[in-house]
Amino acid sequence: MNILIVDDQQFVREAIKADLAESTFKHDFKTFEAEDANQGIEAIVAAEGNIDLLILDLKMDNSDGMEVINFLSVHASYTDIPLAVISSSDKRTLGLVNSIASSLKLNVVGVFEKPINMDFILAETVRLQRQNDKKWDVESPDSVSDYDIHQLLDDEQVLLCFQPQVDMKSKDITGFEVLARMYDENGYIYPDTFLPLIDKAGLNVDFTKIIIAKAFKFWAHEKTLSSYTLSINVTAEDLSSDNLIEYIIRHKQAHANIKLILELTESQEIINQASVLNSIARLIINDISISLDDFGKSYSTYERLDTIPFNEIKIDRSFVCDIDTNEQHHLIVESTIALAKKMSVSVVAEGIETESVLNILGELGCDIAQGYLYSPPIEGRYLKAWVNRYVHKDEIA
């Protein structure tokens, strides 16, 4: 796989190469380097466009990434090159460049702030190429077999990402939701692929245990994160396992300072079973908060609110993402927030991608925001850096 890195800073190029070497993707990466736009263009021409990923710095000494973008746009044979623009510039500039590159019909993987998450960019590139039905001889996730899932779990090939949750009023970070990715030699395997296989193999509890263990270990190690809540998804089926409940409670007791929230997905029908309710009671007694995830998706949502003392509800993203244009969704979200207020339950809205949606949720009295507007899920090793950047973003120069 040919990767061209165009960046004027040797240190950044070395860091990208190091990230590629440590990547969960086990491709044979062949990297080419250029330190300005002209060299970058020369490299593209020399390779006759045979580049599987172009990583392009936006602001370089004596030149800028726009020169390369404009070059690609006027040479039809190069417009298909997957393009990842990287920069330390502010988000508005990055957004503008994204719009320009997309309007020029380039094959844009994305526009990314430094430091970049190389695995994420590679995963996005694979996804984009699949979408375009192009090259990249990568095993389809659909072909991951049950045996692979057993093996992946045995090897704990699970990577944790964390998506921030932000207080709507103060804009302070309140916590993070843990989102798992599995990986094999081809890179990330996303939940919509591996969760059904785990379910089919009857490995839900084993999987949740791995998540709990890894998340607690990470949170306990990163002391600066201890003030934030740590939200982990569990299913009602998980709560049927006494063994898992004991496991979770043991971890919580060993790390009393970790503010654990279990997000209970509501798609299973067994939630009202006595054993499940008993488990929830035990968790609450042990200072573990319960959040009702995907609120609104199931017909029995309100019954559960009545039965279980949830601390928080999360409004499903399908209702949130378009409340600025969908009147019905606006009404549903408005009613849900009003109900939650009356029950003194905190409301988290997930799937926020635009300022417009954020502003409406603020007007409706939503408590906590989560979504790509703030950040996509962040791989653990980059989390501390993201927090530092977010916390210091408003400091006056």
Binding site: D61, S88, H392
Partner: protein
């Protein structure tokens, strides 16, 4: 730049295998040295901003995520001081890598 710069540098290099660490370290020290040297003879706002931008890129990569503090650097002397400080920390951890 006072936020445990040395610890953050250690953390950064420890993410990588030993073979990678050396080339990364050499690139870092070389680049910091270049920026520091060029800061001494800055002759325009553009060149000052360019050096500041390069320093910001390095800080982000090494998890010294203090954009606001870097944005607060208004003069070549301030930039020199910040770069020199980081250079000193980088040199100090060389034996640990």
């Amino acid at each position: 730049m006072s936020h445990n710069t040395r610890d953050n540098l250690r953390d950064f290099f420890n993410r990588y295998s030993e073979t990678r660490r050396l080339s990364l370290y050499q690139a870092l020290v070389k680049e910091l040295g270049n920026i520091r040297g060029q800061t001494k003879c800055v002759d325009s706002t553009d060149s000052f901003n360019s050096l500041k931008h390069q320093f910001k890129g390095i800080c982000r990569y090494t998890c010294l995520e203090f954009d606001a503090q870097i944005d607060a650097i208004m003069t070549p002397a301030q930039l020199y001081s910040a770069v020199d400080n980081m250079f000193g920390h980088a040199v100090a951890i060389e034996d640990e890598l």
